[in-house]
């Protein structure tokens, strides 16, 4: 990895900037992370943070509807945005000749997005199609990220469906949009990251030229989303109209990813020891030896990647059950393996495997400008420290067998949430791919 020469500073309007030059590639990544995600959306407006992300692509003072996409793509670039529990990101990856374009497009919508009733209604339709595609019309759609939080957590910010209910989405108004933007989309509530084929001083000039006159606005005080941990095992079931086989998820609370980073990393290592590769503990036990499940996984974070959220964050176990196996047997096997690890941590070989795979994974992420750019942005936003990207492999390597043991010990049955997904009546769900009917 090119040793990252990171340059961090803050504009007068409060915008935090991370510049990460790498002259070995003719490509630039530009991202803006706003410090608002679906944990901050108001009650009665589930899904609003994500809907608003769509609206940020619908035009701004200097850009008609569709112009943002056209300018990025006709420069040879690609774009996207995504909404997370604690932040919303927007990014462009472009040939370096188009860097200034991206540094124009982002502040234009940070300064003056053009939000109209017509675009709002259009994007509500598009978001509903997105939810039909990813959740309602497919087996295991949104499992377990949409429903597990509602079992593990009690408070609205942590427990609700971040994709949103159709009734809430349909009620979103132009005034909701204006309020949300003025509250959360201030430059002081955002991080700009520019990574790749840049030269520091000219990049600084361009950032100042285009972002410098975005007016400063008050930055909201970020509430703590902490809440008491469950004091017993909480169970819930959901019926999936499309699923052919049952599935099981368990969710556990984790250490604060920011305040207790090294403790958190012990869970990252634990997750790898449990399920990363054929030699991992749960793959060997549940997939290969006992054949309890057809597939399984563990992860730090609800979306599969660690360090993408603030406290409270969730350790998840997910398994697709073979037909005749009871959920209790699967949970029993999980608890036995966790108890084994709690009694005696992983051996040196297991830790060495995890460490080497983690280091290689970081290198591979860094090889793609998009993931490197977004990684620096998230670490600046959540940790105030983009340099962590380079430090993490060494910190993961310092996690000891005892640390992993302690993490395993904390994943207690009496403080977890369990969600069982059951297929609906099979006669109703049988599809007929060979054609016919009607």
């Amino acid at each position: 990895m090119p040793s990252p020469e990171l340059h961090r500073y803050t504009l007068a309007n409060g915008l935090r900037v991370v510049l990460a030059p790498d002259r070995t590639i003719p490509v630039v990544g530009v991202s803006v992370h706003y410090d608002v995600g679906f944990r901050s959306e108001p009650e009665g407006r589930t899904g609003f943070a994500h809907l608003f992300e769509h609206l940020m692509f619908q035009g701004s003072e200097s850009l008609e509807k569709l112009a943002h996409f056209r300018h990025v793509q006709s420069s040879g670039g690609t774009f996207n945005g995504s909404t997370h529990p604690d932040y919303t990101d927007y990014f462009e990856i472009l040939p370096s000749a188009a860097m200034e374009r991206a540094l124009f497009l982002e502040p234009d919508r940070m300064r003056a997005p053009r939000i109209t009733e017509e675009n709002l209604r259009n994007q509500i339709d598009v978001v509903k199609e997105e939810i039909r595609l990813n959740v309602l019309n497919r087996p295991y759609g949104g499992f377990p990220w949409i429903t597990l939080p509602s079992v593990l957590y009690q408070t609205f910010p942590n427990a609700h469906n971040g994709y949103g209910d159709f009734t809430d989405l349909e009620q979103a108004s132009l005034d909701d949009c204006a309020s949300f933007f003025d509250t959360f989309y201030a430059p002081g509530n955002a991080v700009l990251t520019v990574c790749g084929d840049i030269e520091i001083s000219s990049a600084e000039d361009l950032v100042q030229r285009h972002f410098g006159d975005v007016p400063a606005r008050p930055v909201p005080v970020r509430p703590s989303f902490d809440e008491p941990r469950p004091t017993r095992e909480v169970w819930a079931e959901e019926i999936d109209q499309h699923a052919p086989l049952p599935a099981l998820a368990a969710g556990y609370r984790m250490p604060d990813p920011v305040a207790e980073l090294d403790n958190y990393l012990a869970y990252v290592v634990l997750s790898s020891v449990l399920t990363d590769g054929d030699a991992s503990r749960l793959q060997q036990r549940m997939v290969h030896k006992d054949a309890l499940v057809s597939d399984l996984g563990t992860a730090c974070g609800l979306f599969g990647s660690p360090l993408e959220a603030r406290d409270p964050d969730t350790f998840t176990f997910t398994a697709w059950l073979t037909d005749s196996v009871s959920p209790d047997r699967v949970l029993g096997a999980l608890d036995e393996e966790l108890e084994r690890l709690a009694a005696r941590g992983p051996d040196a070989d297991e830790l060495a495997r995890v460490t080497a795979r983690w280091a290689a994974g970081v290198h591979r992420d860094n090889d793609r400008v998009i993931s490197r750019t977004l990684g620096y942005g998230v670490l600046e936003l959540l940790h105030g420290k983009p340099e962590l990207a380079a430090e993490l492999p060494a910190r993961v390597a310092r996690v000891t067998s005892e640390d992993v043991s302690a993490a395993a010990k904390s994943l207690r049955p009496d403080s977890r949430a369990v969600l069982l997904l059951k297929p609906a009546d099979e006669n109703l769900t049988e599809a007929n791919p060979a054609g016919g009917a009607a």
Partner: protein, 456 residues
């Protein structure tokens, strides 16, 4: 909501200074031309190595043509791919994973009607270990009876899972609609066939089909090409066969015709899948077709997406793309839409297909896709994994790094007339066939009214 006083949406969208001009593009720096090697090893394997040292990783891709016409071939080859990495004479399944993990590595195998693909990566310092595990698997996979039995059971479950995915249902129906019973249509084996596969059959298939001649390997990463060549040549010296790998039998041409409505009871969204015959990358008209496809539905700023998503809100996901097989190519148009707008979305899609040929793209549309195609090639080949995947798919078509290097110039040479020709030739609505998967009870009346759909 969260603050008591805020501006209106109208006020937010305006500043005192007013709209500003979009800055022009700067000067594009060229990519560094990496050191490459393209050779055929002693055992007949073609090897491409590219030095791209941005991170200390090496990416590996291996493509083995894996055609077969026996009805049981899809089931046998799928079980082979699932059990290839489950143990050798020298290594248990756990040892295979352990040895790879210790060099930060991973290997995976997958198969489709055309080819067996093995892909992976490792820390560049562990290339010798990665190759040692690969060679061990290629020459010594044992397919233990119990591993085959277990993976066979898992595969049956996974086929059931996949068979419930609307995308998979749609793909299967489309393959049958456009290719009938050709092997290419059997991308996923039947569960009943998989249940019959024995370890002996898998071992026999490995002997017969997993062979070096006709196959290609790509290495991209922080490696010295000549040194990597010597490592591969030595590591894979024991991988030998006296015959070449089996190419899939040629595909018939896609013939235009009615779409078939496939009933999926209770579906809240429908899958539209259209397809027409296209031309391979080696055809001189290919660059024009590539750009024409982008204009139609190949990127976000396309006619199809701007119409049925951004204007009408019928869909989240709509796109068109080219699919390549060794000697041919096809054009595909996909959209997923709510049941009540499915017929309307199909109507607009047909309208856009017709309009593309009749109202040829403007100069701006062409310049936009030209820059997009050149730029996205630059971006996708800037990473080791992106370049490795790009090269292995070109290798399957007999193309190489020179083709990749020369492609921006070919795109630059495409004229508006070339695009107008491609639009009329390849995007004619009458050239397309396809399927609609959805709740027929809700779709049939409207689809019958617009016509061109076989309700059966």
């Amino acid at each position: 909501m969260t603050v008591s006083t805020h501006r209106t949406a109208e006020q937010i969208g305006r500043t005192a200074r007013g709209p500003r001009p979009v800055p022009p593009l700067g000067e594009q720096r060229a990519s560094i031309q990496p050191e490459t090697l393209d050779t055929v090893l002693d055992n007949g394997l073609r090897l491409l190595v590219v030095r791209q040292p941005a991170v200390p990783i090496v990416e590996l891709r291996l493509r083995v043509p894996f055609g077969g016409t026996e009805p049981t071939h899809p089931a046998r080859s799928e079980v082979l791919a699932e059990t290839l990495l489950t143990g050798t004479a020298r290594r248990s399944r756990v040892q295979v994973d352990t040895d790879l993990a210790l060099v930060g590595g991973e290997l995976g195998a997958g198969v489709d009607p055309e080819r067996l693909s093995i892909g992976g990566n490792a820390l560049a310092s562990g290339l010798d270990r990665l190759l040692d595990v690969l060679a061990d698997v290629l020459t010594g996979a044992v397919y233990a009876d119990e591993e085959v039995a277990r993976e066979r059971d898992r595969l049956v479950e996974r086929i059931a899972l996949a068979g419930a995915q609307p995308g998979t249902i749609a793909r299967k129906a489309l393959q049958r609609r456009r290719y009938g019973d050709h092997p290419f249509a059997h991308e996923m084996p039947e569960a009943a066939d998989v249940a019959q596969v024995t370890a002996d059959q898998v071992r026999e298939l490995h002997q017969k089909s997993l062979v070096p001649r006709g196959s290609a390997m790509v290495l991209v990463g922080d490696v010295d090409p000549q040194g990597a060549r010597d490592l591969v040549n030595e590591a894979l010296a024991g991988w030998q066969a006296d015959h070449a790998a089996t190419e899939m039998v040629p595909l018939p041409k896609v013939a235009g015709g009615d779409l078939l409505l496939v009933h999926r009871p209770g579906a809240v969204q429908s899958q539209l899948r259209l397809s027409a015959q296209a031309i391979p990358r080696t055809d001189p008209r290919y660059p024009a077709l590539q750009l024409t496809n982008l204009i139609f539905g190949g990127y976000f700023s396309s006619r199809l997406v701007e119409n049925i998503r951004e204007d009408k809100g019928y869909t989240y996901h709509a796109r068109s793309y080219l699919e390549f097989t060794p000697r041919a190519a096809s054009l595909l148009v996909d959209a997923d839409t709510a049941s009540d707008v499915t017929a309307a979305a199909l109507w607009e899609t047909r309208y856009e297909l017709g309009r593309l040929g009749l109202v040829p793209p403007t100069g701006d549309e062409l310049e936009s896709v030209r820059q997009y195609a050149i730029g996205s090639l630059l971006i996708s080949t800037a990473s080791q994994s992106g370049l490795a995947s790009q090269l292995i798919s070109l290798a399957g078509l007999g193309l190489d790094m020179d083709w990749l290097r020369g492609h921006p110039a070919r795109l630059a040479a495409v004229t508006a007339d070339d695009v107008a020709d491609a639009a009329l030739t390849f995007f004619a609505p009458s050239a397309f066939t396809g399927i609609v998967v959805g709740d027929a009870d809700r779709l049939a009346v409207q689809l019958a009214a617009i016509g061109g759909v076989e309700l059966r």
